[in-house]
């Protein structure tokens, strides 16, 4: 495989609570080449969020511990570099779009306050600095990039003054602030209505294409996978059970679990989904 921007190899994570150790990820391998759109799909408890958190360095350790593996970003292992070095990458060159637009924004600060604070700290970690005015300019720039009609008004707003769709756009704008090359999106749009979700997915797709970003999309929705990614990893019980180009996976899933997962999805055509999933009782 050609040089990937992000490459996870043999990642195993376990959680220890009350003296009991439970494996949560078992030998996960995953590649995100530059400019590619990769999806990581799984049901609750499959380990997709833990994988994302391990990549972004958001795992609470303890109770979690990484028992083996490497996470190589742009040729360097994130797990062996110093915390300082890692912070130069996470949140800047690799950034994250969070799931819940209601709880990911601070209700008592304006959008502009929150965004310029993020930018200030990102700059600081990278040893750069810019004036408040320059920061504000950048904030308005990214708000326009996420197709906000009136960036100035949005910047002055408190989260409560914005709709769910607009808040999700703000979260995307935040992730774009420091011009990342890799965007990790955790279930974007799941908290939104379908029509708004469709808008957000199209926006994400347009953005990553326009700006040549790599996108790692974490989701439980197979429809979203098919609509946004060209390569997909299926996780089940902490293991990647199948990986394939998205079109191939839907056309001919090789693993029973993937097949049963696809079969369980209700279809818009009304074709009865079959019920043979061995997953949960």
């Amino acid at each position: 495989m050609s040089e990937a921007l992000l490459s996870v190899r043999d990642l195993s994570v376990e959680f220890t609570t009350y003296g009991r150790t439970q494996p949560v990820l078992r030998g996960v391998n995953l590649d995100v080449p530059a400019r590619s759109h990769v999806a990581l799909v799984g049901e609750s408890g499959s380990g997709k969020t833990v994988t994302m958190k391990s990549i972004m360095g958001l795992l609470h350790m303890p109770p979690a511990s990484i028992s083996s593996g490497t996470i190589v970003y742009d040729g360097r292992d994130l797990l062996t570099m110093s915390r300082r070095e890692r912070l130069k990458l996470t949140g800047t060159d690799m950034s994250m779009v969070f799931q819940d637009p209601m709880s990911s924004l601070n209700p008592v600060f304006t959008i502009a306050d929150q965004m310029s604070t993020i930018l200030k700290y990102a700059d600081k970690r990278l040893g750069r600095s810019r004036s408040g005015r320059e920061r504000m300019q950048r904030v308005l720039e990214v708000l326009a990039q996420v197709r906000m009609r009136e960036p100035e008004r949005v910047a002055r707003s408190y989260p409560i003054m914005l709709s769910g769709g607009m808040r999700q756009r703000v979260l995307i704008a935040m992730a774009l602030l420091s011009e990342p090359r890799l965007l990790i999106a955790d279930e974007p749009g799941t908290a939104l209505d379908v029509t708004t979700q469709a808008q957000i997915l199209k926006l994400l797709k347009d953005l990553v294409e326009e700006r040549g970003l790599a996108l790692l999309m974490i989701t439980h929705n197979l429809g979203v996978v098919r609509e946004t990614s060209d390569y997909v990893y299926v996780m089940h019980k902490g293991v990647v059970v199948e990986e394939a180009p998205t079109a191939d996976l839907f056309a001919a899933p090789k693993v029973d679990y993937t097949r049963s997962l696809i079969d369980a999805v209700p279809r818009l055509t009304g074709a009865r989904p079959t019920l043979s999933v061995e997953a949960a009782p």
């Binding site: 769709g165 379908v194 369980a264 209700p266 009304g270 997953a279």
Partner: protein, 301 residues
């Protein structure tokens, strides 16, 4: 078996407005949550109410359950007007509800058996028979009788939702209101819960009002649908017809927005004109159509 066409539930011109107060506590106006809605569900049928947040679908469920009092209109159950009896015991014997989130609709301090016993007690089910009835209900939702001794936290999401269904069926209601019954569950679990609801419906001759924002699921479960937009039903009819030939622009937008997993489904999604290179919001699309209709401008490509 479902040949009887007489409606079990008829909703006639139902309306609900909520007062809005300003910061000083005086009345500043009102919002119309349900705007003269009418529909009926035939006995043994599954009627789907589709709509996005704020469309009024949950308000309609609450009105039917008697948790809210309608501002206008009538609710007829099996031909008799129940608007006056809403919220009474006679009413709750006929109409029951399964809530969205099984994690919060079961009391964590009660065992499953105690939770299912609540409606039995309220409806004076003979004390001596309660234990038997609880195991019978658990068996109906395909859970072992031993679950009666367990607490909600020991159960998975799908199991909890089965308990919620058993509790709703305890008083043998005719109509069950399902408010997003599977939206908190994984797809594989969802498929099983829907399958269970379908077979229970047939077995017990239940009538369902199914409220959901998941259109693919609605296509599979409901035999008739009504599409709600801002408190009004903008389109209704047999499910297959509405999905294959949606007439209202809002219905078309809703269907076009569903992420799908096959080419056959993609072919079903109507074309929606992009406005400024973006998928339009419902308001924008409807406004555009309105202006096209009034000025008769030829369709832009």
């Amino acid at each position: 078996m479902n040949a009887r066409q007489s409606p079990l539930l008829e909703i006639v011109d139902l309306a609900k407005t909520f007062p809005v107060y300003n910061a000083f506590g005086s009345r500043a106006g009102e919002v119309t949550a349900v705007d003269h809605v009418s529909f009926s569900i035939r006995r043994g049928g599954v009627y789907g109410l589709a709509g996005e947040s704020g469309s009024g679908k949950s308000t309609i469920a609450r009105l039917i359950m008697g948790l809210l009092t309608p501002t206008g209109g009538d609710i007829l159950l099996a031909g008799s007007n129940i608007t006056g009896t809403l919220g009474t015991r006679a009413h709750s014997r006929q109409v029951q509800m399964v809530f969205q989130n099984p994690g919060s609709s079961l009391n964590p301090r009660r065992t499953i058996g105690q939770s299912i016993a609540v409606p039995l007690e309220a409806h004076n089910h003979p004390r001596a028979d309660r234990r038997r009835r609880i195991s019978e209900l658990l068996d109906m939702v395909q859970l072992p009788a031993s679950f009666a001794e367990r607490y909600p936290h020991e159960l998975s999401g799908g199991q909890k939702q089965r308990v919620a269904i058993a509790r709703a069926l305890a008083v043998a209601p005719q109509l069950v209101v399902l408010d997003e019954p599977t939206s908190a569950l994984d797809v594989s679990v969802q498929a099983k819960v829907i399958d269970l609801l379908t077979s229970l419906g047939r077995q017990l001759d239940l009538t369902y009002l199914f409220i959901s924002h998941d259109l693919s699921l609605m296509r599979n479960f409901a035999d008739e649908v009504g599409v709600l937009y801002r408190g009004r039903i903008v389109e209704s009819g047999p499910t297959a017809k509405v999905f294959e030939h949606p007439e209202h622009d809002y219905t078309r937008l809703l269907i076009a927005s569903v992420p799908v997993i096959s080419a056959e489904e993609e072919a079903l999604r109507p074309e929606i004109p992009l406005i400024d290179g973006e998928i339009p919001t419902a308001e924008k699309l409807l406004a555009l159509r309105e202006s096209q209709r009034t000025t008769e401008v030829p369709k832009r490509t």
